[in-house]
């Protein structure tokens, strides 16, 4: 495309990273289902291993199929580079591995996906990575949690399942004062609805399992490097600023400029920890990503109509959806995701935990399962499922109280979605 045109979001969603295959002319991105790549000669091999040349070695570290979704996500988020990994959880693991050493701390919002709360509280603590919890409704709580050991701040742009919208700009200011990167999990909003880098985020993560893939068929994660954080400003991030023995003393932060973080995650984290994505999953996620703007708009429009309907329903005690005027996060949603507030909403069903369990058993169009971001409408009762391993207080703090039902509103006809909820609510 001519350089004087900035391609729009929908054009990037289809074309970024994906030119026709140079050897066959294949228009769709081929699935490079191979473990390894042959070298031209010994010198070429040495150049690839020494990072002197760009190229593919082994599918644990890179794949041309995954490279396309990596570049596309970097383009859609407005970042410098991406790294695809096996899952959203793997994205969190590889990101923090590049930033933390044993005994370090990171600050995370309490309003997070339950699986992330578990990962941070238990698995990461066994690495000596200590999470300090803060509250997105009290930005001061992030400031108070900062210590000399803090290495990062972690938030979700729209939190799962409570639907809280983070004041990214305010938290980014805290991170900047502390001299640490702000990591934003943008899974629920996607770059179609919210661009965290525009508000000061340094690293964006995704579970591509959700809206990026969008069809409920592949697990995958993504790390996007914003390219603005100065890793060389101090010795706090030795993976980037210190000579690495793994690469004969190379300093990644000075060698790879504004995409050094993504490279560090690839050649130190992904290479050594091993959570590689399958090229086949990358292909399916790529196909989904092409329709991201269409789907996200439809998800948001349907969710808003469902939220409005439920707000007037006699068996519904409350509805939490930032797209509803009057919602406590509505003003923030208008700033951070003006095109819509996404597919997720929660509501309280009259009758508490028992009614919640009855409701998820009575739906007929909605699928009762533990995922979000499918074309299909999904329903879950977090109290008895995704959040059941947390304490009662943690469940309530995460927006998963006993009466809470979470919907991931799909892109079916909205009248059918509403009719299914009505018939199921009638049975509670």
């Amino acid at each position: 495309m001519s350089e004087d045109r900035e391609p729009g979001f929908a054009t990037l969603a289809i074309h970024a990273g994906a030119q026709p295959d140079p050897t066959t002319g294949a228009r769709a991105t081929p699935i490079y289902q191979t473990t390894s790549y042959v070298f031209n000669d010994a010198d070429h091999a040495a150049s690839l291993f020494g990072l002197q040349a760009f190229g593919n070695i082994y599918t644990r570290i890179m794949s041309p199929t995954s490279g396309v979704i990596e570049e596309r996500m970097a383009a859609l988020e407005g970042g410098t580079a991406g790294l695809a990994v096996a899952s959203g959880h793997a994205a969190q693991l590889v990101t923090l591995h590049a930033l933390m050493t044993p005994g370090d701390e990171f600050i995370a919002a309490g309003q997070l996906y339950g699986g992330s709360i578990n990962q941070f509280n238990h698995s990461f603590k066994s690495f000596g990575w200590n999470v300090k919890w803060a509250d997105i409704d009290d930005v001061e709580s992030f400031e108070r949690a900062v210590s000399p050991k803090t290495k990062a701040i972690f938030v979700e742009s729209i939190a799962n399942p409570g639907g809280a919208v983070t004041d990214i700009e305010a938290v980014a200011a805290v991170a900047k004062r502390a001299g640490v990167p702000l990591i934003v999990d943008n899974t629920l909003a996607t770059p179609y609805l919210c661009k965290p880098f525009d508000f000061g985020a340094d690293i964006v993560l995704h579970s591509m399992t959700k809206f990026i893939g969008g069809h409920g068929n592949s697990i995958g994660g993504m790390i996007v490097d914003g390219g603005k954080f100065n890793w060389m400003a101090s010795d706090r991030y030795p993976m980037l600023s210190q000579p690495r023995p793994e690469y004969n003393g190379m300093v990644l932060g000075e060698t790879f400029g504004n995409f050094a973080f993504a490279i560090a995650c690839r050649v130190l984290g992904l290479r050594d920890l091993g959570p590689a994505i399958s090229p086949f999953n990358s292909f399916l996620i790529l196909t989904g990503s092409e329709t991201l703007p269409l789907r996200m708009q439809k998800h948001s429009d349907n969710a808003k109509a469902v939220a409005e309907h439920l707000a007037g329903h006699p068996k519904v005690t409350w509805v939490s959806y930032a797209g509803l005027p009057g919602d406590r996060y509505h003003t923030r949603a208008q700033k951070y995701c003006p095109k819509g507030a996404g597919a997720l909403l929660t509501f309280g069903v009259e009758g508490g935990a028992d009614a919640g369990v009855k409701l998820v058993s009575a739906v007929d169009l909605f699928s009762h399962l533990a995922n979000i971001g499918d074309t299909r409408s999904l329903i879950i009762h977090p109290w008895s499922t995704t959040h059941s391993q947390l304490t009662e207080d943690q469940r309530k703090a995460a927006g998963a109280g006993p009466d809470v039902v979470r919907l991931s509103v799909g892109i079916e006809d909205v009248a059918d979605i509403i009719a299914d909820l009505d018939q199921a609510l009638a049975k509670t």
Partner: protein, 178 residues
């Protein structure tokens, strides 16, 4: 308080025209230390078929990746298309002064990523040279030929046309202008 200079912007067309046209590059600050960016870039540009002449007084007379190392630009016995400056920013002005004494004159002064010297650039531009600052030729070549996409880097290239198939595996080339 010192204010940061405006970030530099160069069009892809300008970078492409340089990388398509230069053949002989003198790299001031080339090093035999394989951990240093200067070594990586030297190796990569040689792999891509450029004739790269290392310049480093500490290693003058030795060979580096098969190329003879010279102590200074004036010692190089052949015409140079581009001088790449792989030294700290303050050293760039002296190197530009040396480059401007060469005959024939090089056409391009390229200062490596993180190297920027506006006074040196002004001098070179006044003499009719093209100047690029604060960019890595390895990154720019890899970005524009498509190789860097294998590392998930946002190349900012959108096109429905296939690139030319490489003659060897994974050695993409910047194509001639179409």
């Amino acid at each position: 308080m010192e204010t940061a200079p405006e970030p530099l912007t160069y069009s892809d067309d300008l970078i492409l025209s340089i990388l398509r046209s230069v053949k002989t590059i003198a790299m001031v600050g080339a090093t035999p230390n394989p951990a240093r960016p200067a070594y990586l870039v030297l190796k990569y540009l040689l792999l891509q078929g450029f004739h790269v002449i290392p310049v480093n007084p500490g290693h003058a007379g030795k060979t580096l990746l098969g190329q003879t190392v010279y102590a200074k630009l004036a010692d190089i016995p052949e015409p140079i298309d581009m001088v790449e400056i792989f030294r700290r920013s303050e050293a760039a002005e002296g190197i530009v002064d040396e480059a401007l004494k060469l005959y024939p004159l090089p056409r391009v002064i390229w200062m490596q990523l993180s190297v920027r010297n506006d006074a040196a650039a002004a001098k070179a531009e006044a003499a009719g040279l093209t100047v690029i600052m604060d960019r890595c030729p390895k990154i720019e070549y890899g970005r524009l030929c498509g190789e860097i996409a294998w590392f998930g880097v946002n190349s900012r290239q959108i096109s429905s046309r296939p690139r030319q198939a490489p003659a060897q595996f994974q050695r993409m080339r910047i194509q001639a202008k179409d």
